[in-house]
Every structure is written in structure tokens, then in C-alpha cells.
């Protein structure tokens, strides 16, 4: 995933807000990265841009070889169904669907045969250790369990990248640690690229590279020492 000179401006004229300001960074395949920064620094907007939920004002966003910035809304939706798993702070599970049905929904949207849906759902729930709760509704699950189901939903499509927007924000500490361990485990076992947005330094440290944003711009990167400074190269 490559972010190159991306800018996002909301509004116009005197009330215009530059949520993302000429941002450039990249994530290698299988990498676990995190975006950190104070409130209003543009972290969530970056995820929205990658997922094609909003279009950039300028720049390009390459995900798995395709420029999301130039996609139509239909193509962006297909991208989210097939290659981008999205985990939100408030879980966003449909309250009237069981855990299994919630997990399988992206596959159903993609028209996958029900037998294949069932098999892949079972595998995804097993990966997050929620097989025993597949028939439960969200209101019958704890916060941590709901978030695990949300992770399974992101995994079931065998994504190229998982975007996690404050996945621990609504959880108690123990549950939050559980979910973060799960994400790390998934990254190590499956090699899926993960980009995590968090304001918690402890959870940010789960990532291999931490990108710090302030006012929509990259302030610094904390990563493995000795790695080339990719972001500055991209920005040029």
C-alpha cells in the first residue's frame, strides 16, 4: 500500500479543513503498521481514503496495485469486499445477524456460493477462537467477543490489507490486549498487511512501524532501526 502526496480537504473557502496534508507513506506486504497522533490529526481520514470511502483531493493511493483514488464508488466497494478488511471501534456488527452471518456478509455480498461461505466463515471464526459462539447475536456477546467477530469478518475475505480503526477503543484493558494479541497473531500467521489507528502508545507498539501524524502530516516514523527512510523518498 502506497500513499503518495495525498491531500484531503473538507469544505471550502474560509471553512476548509485540511485533514490530510501532502502525506506520503507505504506499507510492505505483510507489514504491521500503526498510525498514531492526537485527535484531529487525520488518522481515521487516512483509513477512509485507503478504503475508498472518501476520495482524496490530491495524490494517489495504491492498494495491491490499484489506484484507489481513481476508482469509482462501485469499484471501491468491490475492493472492500475482496481485498480490504475493515475493523471499526464500535464493531459495527448487524444486531439482527448471528456471529456467523455477520462474518459471512462480505462473501454473500460478493455472490459466493453458500457452501463456500459456510466453509470460509467456519475457518475465520476458528482463527479468532469464536467458533463456539457462531450462532449468537451480537447483544449476547461481550465487547471483546464482538470485536473478535469483527476481526473474523475482516479475515474471511482473505484480504490484502486489514484497516483497524481504534479497535480497542470500546474495550476494557484485558479485552483490548486480547484483541491486539489476536491482530498480531493474525499478521504473523497469515502475513496479511495491517494498518492500525490508535492513540494508545502501548498498542501502537504492537506494530513494526509507527507513523505519527500531526495536523494531517507525517511528523515522524518509529520503526526498526536501519530501515531505509521510505516515506521521505516517496514524498520526493
Amino acid at each position: 500500500m502506497v500513499f503518495r502526496n495525498v491531500t484531503k480537504v473538507f469544505g471550502s473557502g474560509a471553512s476548509a479543513v485540511r485533514a490530510v496534508n501532502d502525506l506520503s507513506f507505504s506499507l510492505s506486504r505483510g507489514e504491521f503498521g500503526s498510525l498514531m497522533g492526537p485527535s484531529g490529526s487525520g488518522k481515521t481520514t487516512v483509513l477512509h481514503l485507503i478504503a475508498g470511502l472518501t476520495a482524496p483531493t490530491g495524490g494517489s493511493i495504491i492498494v495491491d496495485g490499484d489506484d484507489v483514488a481513481r476508482m469509482t464508488a462501485t469499484d471501491a466497494a468491490a475492493l472492500r469486499r475482496r481485498r480490504i478488511g475493515y475493523i471499526l471501534q464500535s464493531f459495527n456488527l448487524m444486531p439482527f445477524l448471528t456471529a456467523a452471518e455477520n462474518v459471512g456478509m462480505p462473501l454473500v455480498l460478493d455472490g459466493i456460493r453458500q457452501s463456500e461461505v459456510d466453509a470460509r466463515v467456519a475457518a475465520a471464526l476458528a482463527m479468532v477462537a469464536m467458533s463456539h459462539r457462531e450462532a449468537h447475536l451480537p447483544n449476547q456477546l461481550s465487547g471483546g467477543e464482538q470485536q473478535r467477530v469483527a476481526v473474523a469478518r475482516a479475515l474471511v475475505i482473505e484480504p490484502a490489507i486489514i484497516l483497524a480503526d481504534e479497535p480497542t477503543g470500546n474495550l476494557d484493558r484485558a479485552a483490548a490486549v486480547n484483541v491486539m494479541n489476536l491482530l498480531r497473531d493474525v499478521n504473523e500467521r497469515t502475513g496479511v498487511t495491517i494498518l492500525l489507528v490508535t492513540h494508545d502508545a502501548e498498542f501502537g507498539a504492537y506494530a513494526r512501524r509507527v507513523l505519527r501524524l500531526v495536523d494531517g502530516a507525517l511528523e515522524r516514523i518509529d520503526g526498526i532501526p536501519g530501515e531505509p527512510d521510505r516515506e521521505r523518498q516517496l514524498g520526493k
Binding site: L53, A77, M94, M105
Partner: protein, 858 residues
């Protein structure tokens, strides 16, 4: 898509079953009323056709004069028989007789020549009595055959007496035989009786006259040539036509009434579409979060749109099924009301023993309902499919519907109103009820559109007024109300439409009654009015003999009598009009209310009218046929064409197609008709009205079933008839009101749910239950007032349009417009009560919500 339907739609629709029921109910309402009115129309027409066809029997041609009120010389029968191509010429007399003890129970009496058995066997009437017994009936003046159904209901056996009221008075008939209730007898729902021709002529006071000659021709005969020969040989007043043509004439008579029913069903469809639009809009707002979550995980806008449209299709289909079933039930319930209304309008008895159900037409209604559901849902579905999912997930539920109204609504409104005006002009120019219906539908649709910018405009005003009234709650309430002018405007439009329909439907009978009061109370003034208790089918009483007037004149206390005879089925230029003959004194200019003559001078008209050298015509007739004072009018009578100049154009309510008012002497001389419809009695003041009434009943009551009424009682009689005529509109109005109430309730409750977080936050900072209740009630009251104001603003002018323009072409009567202050006040009160009741329920719900749950709610 089916999986999404099962997993998403079905569960969500089941969870919010109330709103789902509202959508289904909205579709069902529109479809049921369309089905009911269509089935009623079809059943009446089908039964009409069947009756006319069965009455015609094997006849290739029918000879008749109008609808057979006065009959024509029976010498015509021999003239017809003398033609070589004629196998049989079957003379018939027809009339309505009532049971002496129960004047509401009537029989259609047919008099036929029993001696010509072969001729009679051609007709679909089956006698179940032994033939020898029947032959005994020949020549007996009191022998009658009734149907088995009638005999069973009245516990009559062969040989028993049946007392009836007829134009010649109360008579005792003897049941000589029974008829199977099939064929023609079934078409009259068993209310059919037959007598030998001479006996029937005597009973109906038509000695020497017949009403109809059925002409049976030889196989292979040239019917058209025969028709032309008969027309040449018979008096010009008689019509010679195939029975089917008579059926067409009767159906034409029903055209305007059917147009009225069609107009009502169109209005109901508009109401149904509107309710579905409202419910789906609210539903889409509540499901916005789910739909946004679907979009996040990869559903595209097209998938969401297709899913919502598929839901609309299915809900529409379910609603259509319910609508068809309830429509058939409603038709069965409405038939008696509608046939009663038609009887009052057309002075004929309509029988509809069974519903005529055409599956193809039901399918059309179902398709219409489904299309309406999909059309009404489309805008909400499109909005939901285009909403940015991240904006939705972030938003307060109450902000989701905070859409600015589309631009150009005022231009759309102007366009619709202009089109409605064009339709109105077309209605007047072409005298077409269909254009009137189109105009009304367009105007009602315009109400919905203009409500939105009005709500927006009102929002600016109310936003200043409400905080001034209540600083704490006013600001919050105003913000909630006008955050979404579309939603507020649509709710106000629902109230306005409901109120407007109520005002229109209430004003019509009100104006009718007031117009009749002017007509009867001023123009036909008398101390007592004497007439038969039985009627011909509507308000017009059965005729009484002239001798009754002579006898009443001789009673002590009677200064003078005036007589009137109404013939409602006179042929005129292919249509059926009324002829009203009245005593010369009624033309006295001093008795005409100011402005009564729309054209002509009462002073100049009176001498011509009294002399029988001129006639008045009704405004309806003048309007329909472009007639003016000075024009000559030609009427077909049994004694030849009567051609007289028009000397005045006046209001008249005898016939929906128009009427001619002339001297009663002309009725006697030219129509050879001596029976009377009503006898007006003027007293000399020596006896009280009650004494005179008693004297009349004592002297004549055992011979005739009479009613003797004061002017006030006659007005009350007409009031009751008019109320009966419009009773079926009350049912429709009630249905629309109930569904509108559900719509308003849903809207207000939804608003409360959407404001859950806002109200919870308000309570966190200190607002108590009273403040919350006040806010919700204030919102309901404001929407109610907005709707009521709009409703009055729309309802009053449209009521005038309905009465002065639409009804002239729908029902044929030129009414005075009278503003029904009382019915309007009642309608407004009902609307206010409905809105406050809905607001009260929403307020109760608002105060019961947990504060913490409200803060956390999304």
C-alpha cells in the same frame, strides 16, 4: 440478492413490524379502495346489462317511450304485429309497487299477456307452480305471481293475499303462483312480480297503455330494415332500438356517477402512495446505520438500491393481496350504500345480487399497488443508496434526515397547479368529468410538494416564535422540527390532505342540502305536502291518482291545492332528462326568490308558462346543451313532439341530466298522464296543520299509503336522502382518516426515537420530564397547526371548485356553494385531536426512555 433479502430485509422489517405494517397498510388501502370501487362499478353495470338482456329475452328490437314512466297507446302493438317480419310483439307494462305494510319493501311488477304462453316462454322466467293453476290467473284482476324467495321471506303461500300500495291505491292481490328465483327474477334479487297484462294495467293506472313492446323477428329477417319501417309507422316519440342499445343508454346514464367513483379511487391511491412514501422515508432513515455498515464491508450503492426496491416490491405485493381481499369485502359492504346512492340520484332501483369479479382487473389493481409502492419507495431508496456511509455512521440519528429540500419545488408546484388549471378548463369546455378527476389528482399532489417549502418558510417564523413562547423548550423544538423541512413538510401535507378531503366531502352534502332547502323551501312552498310513502328508487315518491288531489281540495280548511308531476326518464337528444309539470300558480313571480332566474325575467316568463306556451329549463340542461332564453326546445311525448320556446333558466334538482319545467296541464294533455308526484296543500287558516293532517289520513289513508308532511318535514326528508346518497363517502373518509392518523403517529414516534440522544443529553443537563413532554407535544402541535392551516387554505377553495365546477360534470347538479362551518370545524377538531393524541403517545415514549441508553444510542 435473495440471501440479503432473507438475512437483512426480512429480519429488519419484522423487527420494525409497525412501520412495515404501515407500508403494507398504505398499499392495501389504495388497492382495496380501487378494487372495491371497480368491483362496485362493474357489478352494477354487469347486472344492468344482464337484467336488460334478460328482460329483452329473444327480442331483436324494443319499442319504448323513455324509461316507461307513462306508457304509450297499446294500439302500437297491433301496428308492430302487422309487419310480416315480426313473429311476435310482446307488450309489457312495468311499474314499482310496495307492500302496504312496509313501503320500503318494493317489487318490480311486470304485466304480460298470459294468454300468449308461447311468447312468454321465450323469457328467462320459470314458474314453479302447476300450469293449470297459472291459467286460472288469466283474467283475474288481483292475481299475481311472486318469486319463491319473496314468498319465503314474507311467509306467503299460493292462494294467500298480498296487500300492496300502487298508483291506484292500496290493493289486495292474491298469490296465484310462484316463480323460480333464477334468470330475470334473480337479476332483481327476487323482487319481481308478474300479473296478467290487463290486471297490471289496471293496478298501475295504465289502462290502454303499455310501456314496452318486445319484437321477435323471423330468422334471417333484416332487423335494420324492420327498425326503420317501425320508426316510420309508429309515433315519433317512441324509440325502436335493439335491447343492447338500451343497455348502452342506461350505462351512459351511469357514466358521471362512475366518474365520481373513479375520482374517489384516484384520491385514495394518491393517499396510499403518500403514506407509503412517508413510511419508507422514515424507515430508510432508521435503517441508515445498517445500510451504511453494509456499504463499509463492501456493498455498493446499486446493491443497496436493488435490495430496497426488491423489499418495496415484496411489501407492495403483500399489500396488494391484502388490498384485494379487503377490497372485495369492502365492495360487498359498499354495494348497498352505492346502489342506494345511485337510486337517489337516478330515481331507479338498482339490484346487485352478486359481485362481478374479473381476475384480470384484480391483477391490474395489484400491479398498480406494487408500482405505487415501488414508486413511493424509490426516492428513499435512492437517498439511502447514495448516502456516504462514514457520514451516516458518525451522525446522530436525528441528523440523518436533515436534508435540505430539493430546489425548485415551488416551480414544480406552480407547474402542477397550472396543469390542474388546464384540466379544469378542459373539464368545462368538454363537459368531461374525467378531466375534472385528473385536475383534482394533480392539485392534491401539488399540496404535498408545496408543503415542503412552506415548512421551510414557516420554520424561519416558528424558530422565532417558539423560543419566545417557551425559552427552554422552544429553541430545541424548533430546531428538531425544521432541521428537516422535507419531513416536517410531508407530515404537514398528510394532515392537510386529510383535512382538505374532509372539507370537500363534507361541503358537498352540506351544499346539496342547503341548495335543496332553497329549492323546496322557497320555490315549492306550501303548508302541507302530500305524497306516497313508497318511492321509485330514490327520493321521488311513487305517483298518486289525481282524484286524491280533488278529494283533498274538498276537505274543510283547505284553501287550495297545487300539484306536481315529475317524469325522470324522458328522452332528449339521446339522454334522459326530467320533465316537471307544476300548477300554474307556482310560476307567480312573487313566489320566485330573488335571483332565481339565472336567465330570463320572471315577470315576462310567467304568462307564457301559465298559458303552456313556454317552458323553463334547469341550469344543468342549459349548460349541457348550450340552451338560452328564446331557444326552442323539442320534447317527445306520446301525442307527438312538443316544441316550445325557453322563457327562463332556473335551478332545478329533479334530474342530474337537467330538466324542463312546464305547466302541469301539458303533462295531462301531451303525456296523457294524470297521476301526481306530490300535492301541495295551502290552508285557509281555519284548521291547524295537525287537524288537517289527521283529516287527510282519516279520509284517504286506508286507500293509499300516504305521508303528509310540513315544509320543515319535507326538508328533513330531503336531508336524509342526501345523507344516504353520500353515506358511502363517509366510509371512504373514515378509512383515509385512520390511515393518515397512523402516518402521523409513525412520523411523530420516529422523530422521538431519532431525538433520543438529543433528549437524553438535554435531561443530563437538567431538563425534567415535563420539559421533554412539552417539547414533544409542542412539536406535534406545531406540525398539526401547520397542516391544519395548509388544509384549510387548500380545502376551502377546492371545496368551492368541487361544488361549483366538478360536481356539475360528475353528478350533473348546479349547486349553491355553502360553506359548512360546522363540518369544517369538526374536521379541524378531529385533525387537532389526532395530532395531539399522536404527540401524547410520542411524549410518553420520550419520557420513558432511559437517559443513559439515550446517550449511548446510535
Amino acid at each position: 440478492m435473495l440471501r440479503l433479502l432473507r438475512q437483512i430485509s426480512l429480519r429488519q422489517l419484522t423487527a420494525s413490524w409497525g412501520r412495515t405494517a404501515l407500508v403494507v397498510g398504505g398499499v392495501a388501502t389504495g388497492v382495496s379502495l380501487i378494487v372495491a370501487i371497480d368491483v362496485v362499478k362493474t357489478s352494477v353495470v354487469e347486472n344492468f346489462r344482464r337484467t336488460v338482456a334478460q328482460m329483452a329475452g329473444p327480442a331483436a328490437l324494443e319499442v319504448a317511450l323513455g324509461v316507461g314512466e307513462v306508457g304509450f297507446d297499446e294500439a302500437a302493438v297491433e301496428l308492430v304485429r302487422s309487419d310480416a317480419e315480426v313473429v311476435a310483439a310482446v307488450p309489457l307494462v312495468r311499474g314499482t309497487i310496495a307492500l302496504a305494510d312496509d313501503p320500503a319493501e318494493t317489487l318490480q311488477l311486470f304485466g304480460a299477456d298470459f294468454a300468449t304462453e308461447d311468447d312468454l316462454r321465450r323469457y328467462p322466467i320459470t314458474a314453479t307452480t302447476d300450469r293449470r293453476e297459472l291459467l286460472l290467473a288469466v283474467g283475474e284482476p288481483d292475481a299475481v305471481l311472486v318469486t319463491e324467495t319473496f314468498a319465503r321471506e314474507h311467509r306467503l303461500a299460493v292462494g294467500e293475499q298480498l296487500r300492496v300500495s300502487s298508483p291506484t291505491g292500496i290493493r289486495a292481490l292474491t298469490v296465484r303462483g310462484l316463480l323460480a328465483t333464477e334468470g330475470l327474477a334473480a337479476a332483481f334479487a327476487g323482487r319481481l312480480a308478474t300479473m296478467d297484462l290487463p290486471a297490471a294495467q289496471l293496478l298501475l293506472d295504465k289502462v290502454g297503455r303499455v310501456d314496452q313492446i318486445d319484437v321477435v323477428v323471423r330468422d334471417g329477417a333484416d332487423v335494420d330494415a324492420l327498425r326503420r319501417r317501425l320508426e316510420n309507422n309508429l309515433p315519433a316519440a317512441l324509440s325502436v332500438a335493439p335491447p343492447a342499445q338500451r343497455a348502452v343508454q342506461y350505462e351512459t346514464m351511469l357514466t358521471s356517477f362512475r366518474a365520481l367513483l373513479t375520482g374517489l379511487s384516484s384520491l385514495c391511491l394518491v393517499a396510499g402512495v403518500f403514506i407509503v412514501y412517508n413510511a419508507t422515508s422514515t424507515g430508510a432513515a432508521h435503517r441508515a446505520w445498517t445500510l451504511a455498515a453494509l456499504r463499509i464491508i463492501g456493498a455498493d450503492g446499486t446493491t443497496v438500491l436493488r435490495l430496497l426496491m426488491l423489499e418495496a416490491f415484496l411489501l407492495g405485493a403483500v399489500g396488494a393481496v391484502f388490498g384485494i381481499v379487503s377490497g372485495l369485502l369492502l365492495a360487498w359492504l359498499l354495494i348497498p350504500l352505492v346502489t342506494d346512492s345511485m337510486g337517489i340520484n337516478f330515481q331507479l332501483r338498482f339490484y346487485v345480487p352478486e359481485l362481478a369479479i374479473d381476475p384480470r382487473r384484480l391483477l391490474v389493481a395489484a400491479i398498480l399497488g406494487i408500482a405505487a409502492a415501488m414508486g413511493a419507495s424509490y426516492f428513499a431508496a435512492r437517498r439511502a443508496s447514495r448516502a456516504a456511509p462514514i457520514d451516516v455512521l458518525r451522525s446522530d440519528l436525528g441528523m440523518m434526515d436533515a436534508t435540505a429540500p430539493p430546489r425548485g419545488l415551488v416551480w414544480w408546484w406552480l407547474a402542477l397547479v397550472t396543469l390542474s388549471g388546464v384540466a379544469l378548463v378542459m373539464q368545462v369546455q368538454r363537459k368531461s368529468a374525467a378531466w375534472g378527476n385528473l385536475g383534482s389528482s394533480l392539485f392534491n399532489a401539488a399540496v404535498v410538494i408545496v408543503a415542503i417549502p412552506i415548512a421551510q418558510w414557516a420554520g424561519r417564523l416558528v424558530s422565532r416564535v417558539l423560543p419566545a413562547l417557551s425559552p427552554a423548550t422552544g429553541r430545541i423544538t424548533a430546531n428538531s422540527l425544521f432541521r428537516s423541512p422535507v419531513r416536517t413538510g410531508v407530515t404537514a401535507a398528510a394532515i392537510a390532505l386529510s383535512l382538505s378531503v374532509s372539507i370537500n366531502l363534507a361541503s358537498v352534502p352540506y351544499s346539496f342540502k342547503a341548495s335543496m332547502n332553497s329549492y323546496v323551501g322557497k320555490f315549492l312552498s306550501a303548508d302541507l305536502i302530500v305524497s306516497a310513502v313508497a318511492t321509485e328508487g330514490g327520493w321521488l315518491e311513487s305517483p298518486v291518482p289525481e282524484s286524491l288531489a280533488t278529494g283533498i281540495r274538498m276537505l274543510p280548511g283547505v284553501a287550495q291545492v297545487e300539484v306536481g308531476r315529475v317524469l325522470t326518464g324522458q328522452p332528449f337528444r339521446g339522454a334522459r332528462i326530467g320533465v316537471f309539470g307544476i300548477t300554474d300558480r307556482a310560476f307567480d313571480p312573487a313566489r320566485q326568490p330573488p335571483g332565481w332566474y339565472r336567465q330570463g325575467d320572471p315577470e315576462k316568463a310567467a304568462p307564457a308558462l301559465r298559458a303552456g306556451t313556454g317552458v323553463n329549463v334547469s341550469t344543468t340542461l342549459a349548460d349541457r346543451y348550450d340552451l338560452h332564453v328564446g331557444d326552442e326546445i323539442s320534447l317527445e311525448t306520446p301525442t307527438g313532439a312538443l316544441k316550445l320556446p325557453i322563457v327562463g333558466v332556473v335551478p332545478d334538482f329533479v334530474s342530474d341530466h337537467g330538466s324542463v319545467i312546464l305547466s302541469h296541464r301539458l303533462i295531462v294533455e301531451r303525456w296523457r298522464e294524470r297521476n301526481l308526484s306530490r300535492i301541495n296543500v295551502l290552508t285557509d287558516g281555519t284548521h291547524s296543520l295537525d287537524e288537517l293532517r289527521r283529516a287527510i289520513m282519516e279520509r284517504f289513508g286506508h286507500e293509499h299509503r300516504l305521508k303528509v308532511l310540513s315544509v320543515g318535514e319535507v326538508l328533513a326528508y330531503h336531508d336524509r336522502m342526501i345523507s344516504r346518497a353520500f353515506a358511502f363517502t363517509d366510509a371512504i373518509q373514515l378509512l383515509i382518516a385512520i390511515v393518515t392518523l397512523c402516518c402521523i403517529f409513525d412520523q411523530l414516534v420516529s422523530t422521538t426515537i431519532e431525538r433520543r440522544r438529543e433528549l437524553a443529553l438535554w435531561r443530563v443537563v437538567g431538563a425534567d420530564d415535563r420539559a421533554v413532554r412539552t417539547s414533544v407535544m409542542l412539536e406535534a402541535a406545531t406540525v398539526g397547526m401547520l397542516g391544519a392551516t395548509l388544509g384549510l387554505g387548500i380545502g376551502l377553495p377546492t371545496a368551492w371548485l368541487w361544488i361549483k365546477v366538478n360536481l356539475r360534470y360528475l353528478l350533473g347538479y348546479d349547486l349553491e356553494y355553502h360553506f359548512g362551518a360546522l363540518p369544517t370545524a369538526i374536521s379541524v377538531t378531529i385533525v387537532v385531536v389526532m395530532t395531539l393524541a399522536a404527540g401524547s403517545a410520542a411524549a410518553r415514549m420520550a419520557t420513558r426512555q432511559s437517559v443513559l441508553d439515550g446517550i449511548r444510542s446510535n
